[in-house]
């Protein structure tokens, strides 16, 4: 059910006054099905643009992206997107937000309601199902957004700094939850962050992108999250700190 992502010769530049501004520079990358890949980099390096290209919101200047062997030509249900700012719809309660994907695919009312409730309980939001998104805290909104994406049953989940706006405690709790979700669902996940610790903690593989124009300057398998270690044990490992130091050095050499 999970699919891989293949990126070949990807380049992108923005049109601006005074010519083209290069944003991404020759990216070649293969993400295996079921990997949780984290991509770290300084702000403005093009990592969000990269993610939006895989999502199909932006077309690259050149190069190709394929997901599960199919070339990306636009947004599609095989790629779920968790946005930095939650995009829940205020006119729907939380349950209907989560049930939207099945609804758009024409799933019947009772069935999509059951699907929504299942994913809401998976992210610990069963009690909030009847509330409106603006009645939830930032952390709960991100949980609801993740539930909505999972309820759409995508092969690949793309996450664009989803925890960037949350306080440290909430952030850590959501990281732990994501790890559990990934282990349970086996989805392919690309997770963008500007936090080194987050990248190292979550990733089964960590990528680092250079400042604009973005290139992949570090690509390292990280064993922690794939092992069945508890979150606090991972953070306490000596190798965790070592890997974090290497990633930090790659971001700011």
């Amino acid at each position: 059910m999970s699919k891989g992502i293949d990126v070949a010769g990807l380049e992108h530049s923005f049109r601006a006054r005074g010519g083209a501004v290069p944003a991404l520079d020759r990216i070649d990358l293969a993400i295996e099905p079921g990997e949780l890949v984290t991509l770290a980099g300084p702000s403005g390096c093009g990592k969000t643009t990269f993610l939006r290209m895989i999502a199909g919101f932006v077309a690259p200047s050149s190069g190709t992206i394929t997901v599960g062997g199919t070339t990306v030509r636009g947004p599609g249900v095989d790629r779920g997107v968790v946005f930095q700012q939650p995009t829940l719809y205020p006119w729907l309660d939380v349950r209907r937000n989560v049930a939207l994907g099945p609804k758009l695919r024409g799933v019947g009312k009772a069935e999509r309601r059951a699907t929504a409730d299942r994913y809401l309980s998976l992210v610990g939001l069963s009690d909030a199902a009847d509330r409106r998104p603006y009645e939830l805290s930032g952390g709960m909104q991100q949980r609801a957004q993740i539930a909505r994406v999972l309820a759409g049953d995508p092969e690949v989940v793309l996450m664009d700094e989803p925890y960037g706006a949350l306080d440290a405690l909430t952030r850590e709790r959501l990281q732990n939850e994501l790890l559990t979700l990934w282990r349970e669902t086996g989805k392919t996940i690309l997770f963008i962050t500007h936090s080194v610790d987050e990248a190292v903690f979550l990733g089964s593989r960590v990528l680092v992108m250079s400042p604009r124009p973005g290139r992949i300057v570090l690509d390292e398998k990280v064993p922690f999250s794939s092992r069945s270690l508890a979150p606090d044990e991972i953070r306490a490992l000596p190798e965790f700190a070592e890997t974090a130091a290497r990633v930090r050095a790659a971001i700011a050499p």
Binding site: V81, Q85, T87, Y89, Y134, G152
Partner: protein, 277 residues
């Protein structure tokens, strides 16, 4: 939570303040009317005389002046019937304005070239005082209700259309992207995201249109406006029935406030998320 606490304190205080100002207004008005500063007396009717005119206009009453005849309200209609006729006109005009204005706004907001093409005309129509074309409409549609409903339609739909366009263009790009990634087709994007997201703006436009249509209908009834509350206000003035004219003016003003309150209540019910998300 603190705002609701404030409201709880403010609510009664506000009503008390309103009541006090009303008492002062009526007192000053009574004194001025009794002082007969202006001659003849009928130019300054007292609050009681206005109330009396209001009651007479809503009942069968003797013509007075020694004549034995009993008439029905004013000009054969009760005052509330005059009001209902005017409300029916703006109801029709606004209804047509919504039926035409909202889809047009959605189209103009979604399809760039349609917006660019039709935009200047809607803008032009919006900036025209509607009474400028009443003569034209009378020539086309006659002096009866059709020309007035057309007038109100033409007054109501530009603000509704412009607000709708504004709403469509203000939909967050990622709210659209999220729906696309969940598999929304073009039509589903319209019905599931764009229309609900635009609803607060549509209702704002409707509120503007209601105010605009109400001022317009009262003015439009200067020409063959009976029955109609604007027509009655005008006629009574020309016949030196000043008390009745003042009663009509009060009814017109209070109706405008009530209409606005109705729309705001609808807004609270239909778009409870306004200002929160």
């Amino acid at each position: 939570m603190s705002s609701s606490h404030l409201e709880a304190v403010r609510g009664p205080r506000r009503w008390l303040g309103l009541l006090a100002s009303l008492v002062v207004l009526l007192a000053v008005w009574s004194v001025v009317a009794a002082a007969d500063l202006v001659e003849p007396h009928y130019l300054t009717p007292s609050p009681l005389e206005v109330w009396d005119a209001f009651v007479r206009a809503n009942s069968h009453h003797a013509v007075g002046g020694g004549v034995d005849r009993v008439v029905r309200g004013e000009e054969n209609y009760y005052l509330w019937e005059h009001l209902v006729v005017s409300l029916r006109r703006i109801g029709l005009g606004l209804g047509l304005g919504v039926v035409v204005g909202v889809p047009l706004g959605l189209l103009m907001g979604t399809v760039r070239w349609v917006g660019d093409l039709a935009g200047p005309y809607v803008d032009f129509l919006r900036s025209l005082p509607p009474l400028a074309y009443i003569g034209f409409l009378v020539a086309w549609f006659g002096i009866y209700d059709a020309s007035k409903v057309w007038l109100l339609f033409l007054a109501a739909f530009p603000p509704i259309t412009l607000a709708t366009i504004n709403g469509v263009r203000g939909v967050r790009q990622d709210q659209l992207n999220a729906a696309r990634s969940l598999g929304a087709s073009g039509l589903q994007l319209q019905t599931q995201v764009i229309i609900p997201a635009t609803l607060p703006d549509i209702l704002s436009g409707l509120r503007v249109a209601v105010g605009f249509a109400w001022t317009t209908v009262v003015a439009a009834e200067l020409v063959n406006g009976l029955p109609g509350i604007g027509g009655l206000a005008y006629l009574s003035g020309t016949q030196n029935k000043i008390a009745l004219s003042v009663a009509c003016i009060l009814v017109i003003g209070l109706t405008a406030i009530a209409l606005d309150a109705v729309i705001r209540t609808i807004e609270k019910l239909v778009v409870p998320w306004r200002g929160k998300a």
